[in-house]
Amino acid sequence: MITLSNIDKSFGDKQVLFDVSAHFEQGKCNFVIGASGSGKSVLMKCMVGLIQVDKGKIEYEGRDFAHIDYEQKQLIRKEIGMLFQGTALFDSLSVEDNIAFPLRMFTTMNEVEVIDRVNFCLKRVDLVNVNKLFPSSLSGGMKKRVGIARAIALNPKFLFCDEPNSGLDPLTSRLIDHLIQEITYEYNITTIINTHDIKSLFEMGDNIIFIYKGRNWWEGEKSAIRHSGNEELLSFMKASEF
């Protein structure tokens, strides 16, 4: 469970986030939606500590994250898995080494155990015989799956997905969605998905937060969207061919 309280963030004179408060529940797919430039990517970066907030609190299961030093932050980050928009796989490492990377860094597993875990994660994302391939030789969908495999290698408590479907065809998008949803429920992870893809939202969204001009404009379950009466949210949905 992650709780945000009164988050403010400015870049120079430009304020991007205004008093954002939200609650992301464990074992659920929590969606953050909003138009481009609304501040949802900045919010996600604040949540994982890549951007320092100006004001407000971020709590991971009651543990403060926004106002602790770098070393303490690194400890909480070891519980976080992240799927990046561009996958951010290490291009100098093979698929196997990419997934093994956090295992070799943070566990005392021997090499046989590491490879077993890598193979388990690859099987979990329906990839086989790709261990020795490099990211440059993979398709977009395969890269996303490897990204998910790397993100779950250490059994994270929190999974962040930044635009998991961007650049993928509709069929592969749905496969990635189902994979994220299955993993969330199976391992009881707090998953936060930042997306524009309304189809994904209606297929797998449990909790939804709509960010509009840097503010938490609407929050609720997907079934409540149609009757929300929130003009900005409904027009965003309509523009997305809802």
């Binding site: 890549l50 690194q74 909480i76 070891k78 990046f84 561009g86 951010a88 290490f90 860094m105 943070f106």
Partner: protein, 247 residues
Amino acid sequence: MRLIEFLGEYFLFLKSLFARPEKFRIFIKQTFTEMYSIGVGSFSIVSLISIFTGAVSTIQIGYQLVSGLVPEYLIGRIVRDSNILEFSPTVTCLVLAGKVGSSIASEIGTMKVTEQIDALEIMGINSTNYLVLPKITAGLITIPLLVIYAMFLSILGGAISGVVSELITIDAFVKGLRADFIPFSVTFALTKATTFAFIITSFSAFYGYKTQGGALEVGQSSTKAVVFSCIGVILFDYILSELMLSR
């Protein structure tokens, strides 16, 4: 003002760098990989540059000492001193600033713009420590070794060119090499090489790390890394000469 800002950012970058590596075994492995890349990868260019620097210095010194009053062996002595004190450490490091510096800056810059560094941070890894410390350590070990190698080759190149162009006999050249040798010259050269190694690797990593944007900015960072590394090498060449050689 911008200089103070630059220095502030640079020293904060260095501060973040020096932490205990997460896994020492991985740090050692990374360092050896970087040593191979910097050392073996630069072997041929350093060989070529050194032989020709030595050869040209012999010919030019011979050309300037055309007098029956100056003993022939002095050519060997001047070639030895100029190559050990200046040409081998400085020219080699200027070449390495171009080759190694641009490679480090573009590698780290590309990782930055493709969010690979963010991925490291989110995994809980100190990215500067993981990525940059092995490169600096490898540079501090490998570049002085390359400079020692360059010293030998430049003197060899000087001897060959002196003999081939009939400026000096090999016996006179060897006599010059052995005349009034001051071992401190080598200490000075290696101090310079170590300082330059730190400048090249840390400046290049710093500019790579500061990259924001895309492919264009990676190229710009790489260019800045080379330019500022060269300026750093020349500046510290003067400072170290003033500190260690002036009386």
